[in-house]
Amino acid sequence: MAQTKTKSRFIGWFAPIILLILWQLSIVTGIIRFRYFPSPVAVAQAFLRLANSGRFYGNLSHTVIVTLVAWIIATILGVLFGLLIGLSLPVWKGVMASVDVLRSLPIIALVPVGVIIFGFTLRLEIVIATYAALWPILVNTVSGVRQTRSELLDIGRIIRMSRVERVWKLILPSALPLILVGLRLGLGLSLVLAIVTEIVGTPNGIGYALINAEQALHPAQMFVYILVTGVIGYLLNGLFIFSARRILSTEKSAEKN
């Protein structure tokens, strides 16, 4: 069993390595002939050069911090308003259609609106990233709360739990899996929109560095930044799934006790 697992892991590393080798070979041999398509070796060299410069880490941390700040604001707002809308049927009927309209606006079309209001500032980045992350969190909180089994709520009423207690001890735990899904989607969107605003014009962060590298015709550097965004997304996602599993498993073991 353990052997097959290490074997499958080995296969997993195999494919990317083969892809990289094919990429390198096809450029060296001239099969792929694009003027600005760097080889993996050139990308690796560019990475080493960038990794020794201080601005690389400045841009990196800027984007990560913006992403996380926007995500945290969106989480607070989304869960709060999600509870408000999900807990009360009249409120849900009264505002949910508006929420649906607002969340289905293509977020990218909101960027110019944001630029006109805020200019290319840090505030623009945070507002846009927050707006993008808000909706999946809010909508998932609403449906999580509304899918709480009515038997559970009946029990809460029978044992005379207060309203706050019912929300805290019954509704939130049962909505948690869906809320976590919303949080994960929100985290990804927050990162993407932070990068989009940087590409469009905010003079900081990975997106800005990326577009600079493009305009300076440094494709290898640009690929480094693309890979870095991929790695950030991958790591944030992985970190979130890891902690969400921890949260859910403690939740489950608490249920068993």
Partner: protein, 262 residues
């Protein structure tokens, strides 16, 4: 006591479902207040009636419809290409035993790669044209289709392949049975992919300035023509709504025929 009973019933009958239209009232009130008290000359928050005027102005200048057509063209072509490639790759990876372990790390990485970051790279390599936009949109919206198809083929493959061998299907008929069984999942993937594809299409136009809704938005923003920006935002929203409706319409009969995907 009566109140408790009512609450229980109401929770039971609309736990899900479509939100009633009267939920639009807050939005309408907000726009009405904006219209009544907004200033005509506000750069940040122009009145909604000005948005309409701005869209009419773009229409008169003759750039609105060609841009919408350009955006829709890229979008529709990308959805078709992504569906075909995604379904074929999904079936291929899903039906090979070592497919998952071999490709999971690569797929995981690629689908987490933000499309926005890839746009400049595609622009510099392929040049700024609508073909580049197509490549980018396909690249970013193929994942839900591919992954859904792969998961479905994995789910049905044991029973289905037994049936196929027992009945003795070969060649084209075998393939058509497989395709039919994964079709609902493919469509579920398309449902997720379609809004994403529209956003990435506009994004590609936005960043590289190839003609379309995105480049109209950029030029409006660069001229600080805020009524135009708001108006185009509404146009983009309507386009997204339209896409959603079309996808549901296409999906419904196929799901009815082949059963819902889980």
């Amino acid at each position: 006591m009566r109140k408790v009973a009512r609450m229980t019933i109401s929770r039971r009958d609309d736990g899900k479902g479509v939100a009633p239209l009267r939920g639009l009232v807050p939005l309408v009130i907000l726009l009405a207040i904006w219209q009544l008290f907004g200033s005509t000359h506000s750069v940040f928050f122009p009145r909604p009636s000005l948005w309409w005027d701005a869209v009419v102005k773009i229409e008169r200048s003759g750039t609105l419809w060609p841009s919408l057509v350009a955006t829709s063209e890229t979008f529709i072509e990308a959805i078709i290409v992504a569906t075909l490639i995604g379904a074929v790759l999904g079936i291929a990876i899903g039906s090979v035993k070592w497919g998952d372990s071999a490709f999971n790390p690569v797929l995981d990485f690629l689908r987490n790669l933000p499309a926005a970051a890839v746009v400049p790279a595609a622009a510099i390599i392929l040049g700024t044209n609508s073909k580049m936009a197509l490549v980018i949109v396909v690249f970013s919206c193929i994942w839900p289709i591919l992954l859904n198809t792969r998961a479905e083929i994995r789910r049905v493959s044991v029973v289905l392949s037994n049936v196929i061998t027992n009945v003795g299907l070969r060649g084209f008929r075998k393939q058509s049975v497989i395709v039919g069984s994964v079709l609902p999942s493919v469509l579920l993937g398309v449902r997720v992919a379609a809004p994403l594809a529209l956003i990435v299409t506009i994004l590609a136009e936005f960043i590289t300035n190839i003609s379309g809704l995105g480049s109209l938005l950029v030029s409006a923003q660069q001229n600080f023509d805020s009524p135009e920006v708001y108006g185009l935002l509404v146009v983009a929203g309507l386009l997204a709504l339209f896409v959603n409706i079309v996808v549901s319409l296409v999906e419904a009969p196929i799901v009815r025929r082949h059963g819902p995907s889980v």
